[in-house]
């Protein structure tokens, strides 16, 4: 029997990597995904209907004089005013969608939670539609107060309210019932959809045009104004998410155990809900509903590097950004010079993937 003296001491030997410690794999994945994102950013900058090439811009930085000056000027405008904000917005929205999916899955302790599936996006959408339709009449004081941020903040508040309702309904004493969560999400989405429908019904023709553009689930309207309105909210939410990794790990053991481990659970949950609402709201405001990124990306990475949020969280942000940039590039190329709404591409990847998850884990969902 080990004596009491040696049992709870340490032998001072040099640390070595232990079996089951996947932190090196996590770090490697982050590096690989960061490189992938850089590649996707370049691809995004060089893809588009106009044929403008980012290479001529990069060349101009190094003093390479283009053959046709007029052409170069036009390319310059296309790239700085259209493609650059679109690429940045795509990066941020992709990261935001994937990370808010991951945060919800951690909060609800359930790999199926996703803002799009459980009604948070619908709630954020209701907020956005409300501003578009009522922004000049009933909500005019609000829009004049909030300026270019009106749409974003309305979507944020819509997402926040939905997440709170969902959490209160589906979680009892720290345990979330899967069936209750999904059913409550369906109910909330239906309710938000109904109210959105009423708003669309009373909308004027020009508002309808705005709604259609917004609701396509597309990055095609990206510009610097949208970037300025949504970018800071998304970046703030992503930074906040970075502080949640340790707590999310502890929370997988349940709320009581997380508290015993030293996590201030109530404050932690509030911070998570606000981060989800911020990231989802700002994304929905700028790009409408883009589905399945929040399910596919975290799940895929969990299979590869494991569920340790310290590595899973940054990896999810990076892959989410790459995934959306790729989907956006495809949406621009597949029916060029027209564009397919990006939501169609992500759903075409995400739908079958979701079914695959269900098939693989059917036993675990036999409620």
């Amino acid at each position: 029997m080990a004596s009491a003296a040696t049992m709870f001491e340490h032998d001072g030997a040099s640390p070595e990597r232990a079996a089951g410690d996947r932190s090196n794999l996590g770090r490697l994945a982050i590096v690989v995904l960061a490189v992938l994102l850089l590649v996707m950013m370049v691809v995004s900058m060089t893809t588009g209907a106009s044929g403008a090439s980012a290479w001529s811009i990069i060349g101009s930085w190094f003093g390479v004089v283009p053959e046709h000056a007029e052409q170069a000027l036009r390319d310059h405008a296309v790239i700085y005013n259209i493609r650059l904000p679109r690429m940045l917005l795509g990066t941020l929205v992709g990261a935001a969608l994937a990370v808010s999916g991951l945060l919800m899955q951690g909060l609800f302790r359930n790999p199926l939670a996703d803002p799009g599936l459980v009604g948070v996006s619908a709630g954020a959408g209701l907020g956005a539609v409300g501003i578009i339709v009522l922004g000049t009449t009933m909500l005019a004081p609000l829009t004049s107060l909030l300026g270019i941020y009106s749409l974003q903040i309305a979507a944020f508040v819509g997402g926040l309210i939905t997440t709170f309702i969902l959490y209160r309904v589906a979680t009892r004493s720290g345990q979330t019932a899967i069936a209750t969560m999904l059913l409550a999400g369906i109910a909330i989405a239906a309710l938000a959809g109904a109210i959105t429908g009423v708003l669309v019904y009373v909308a004027t023709d020009s508002q309808l045009r705005d709604l259609t553009f917004w609701g396509l689930g597309s990055l095609s309207g990206a510009n610097w104004t949208k970037m300025a309105a949504s970018g800071p909210i998304i970046i703030a939410s992503l930074i906040a998410a970075g502080f949640l990794a340790k707590g999310l790990n502890a929370l997988t053991l349940g709320e009581a155990t997380a508290a015993h481990l030293g996590v201030p659970v109530q404050r932690f949950k509030l911070m998570t809900i606000v981060a989800v609402a911020g990231a989802t709201g700002a994304s929905v405001a700028v790009s409408g509903g883009i589905g399945f990124v929040g399910i596919v990306v975290p799940h895929l990475l969990r299979l590869i590097i494991g569920p340790n949020h310290r590595y899973l969280l940054p990896a999810t942000a990076l892959l989410g950004a790459s995934f959306l940039l790729m989907a956006d590039a495809i949406s621009r190329l597949i029916v060029a010079p027209a564009e397919l709404p990006i939501g169609i591409i992500t759903a075409a990847f995400g739908g079958p993937f979701f079914l695959w998850i269900l098939l693989r884990k059917r036993a675990a969902f036999a409620w």
């Binding site: 990597r17 232990a18 079996a19 790999p111 340790k246 481990l261 996590v263 494991g306």
Partner: protein
Amino acid sequence: MIEVSALSVHLAHRQILHDISFSAAPGAITAVIGPNGSGKSTLMKALCRDNAYTGTVRINGHDLMDMSPVQAAALRAVLPQSSSLPFPFTVYEVVSMGLTAGRSGVPLSMNKRLPEMALASVDLAGFGGRYYGEISGGEQQRVQLARVLCQVWTPVLDGAPRYLFLDEPVSSLDVKHQLMIMDVARRYADAGGGVIAILHDLNLAAMYADSIVALREGRVAGHGTPAEVLTDDLIETVFDCRLSVGATPPAGMPFVLPQSAGRHAAPASIPKVA
């Protein structure tokens, strides 16, 4: 020292615990026994601040209510009855979660190896790479104990004793590992830490506990050394069941007592910490 005084808990307009007072000394194992529904788990939850309570709980002289989650986590670790995980963590990763608040008491560079040492102490050396969801229930319980040990690895930190709160730590273990886990608790106490454990097995309580708190219908029915508490009369009062302490079955009927393992000196011989 953990001092509980006049602790009462109401849940859904029903009073579950009435005016509970006892203390648990460092260097000792304090066992809580009692029938189902007597309030053992509610008492544990109150000590962990999971439930609201009236009265006071002091740990090393500090009121539990005034502590932040991080401060409390540095003073005591809690083993729940069972834990399921929604995501495919490895055993190593689960045990590492014990380091969330970061006061294991070993140098920072050693924290990486602590999970392996903790696993070895619960007879799970080499299990770090297995998936938590794929090992047996008894093994999961021992993994959780390893996680709990990581959280408060050194039984005394900065001169102050630390505590293990164990809610039925051996309920799903085979007899070998029951003894093993109780030995871990014993060694933790011998090294200066304190242990409060809910136990169903009266023989294990008799064998390992320095002091026993017997609960019945939310009240303390007896508190003292095993010899003082485990009497025919008290057992009948508490468990509503007439039993004879120390009686052996008729000749020819086999019986197996954990005490026969002979791995543990009688509690009486262990010096009490004042």
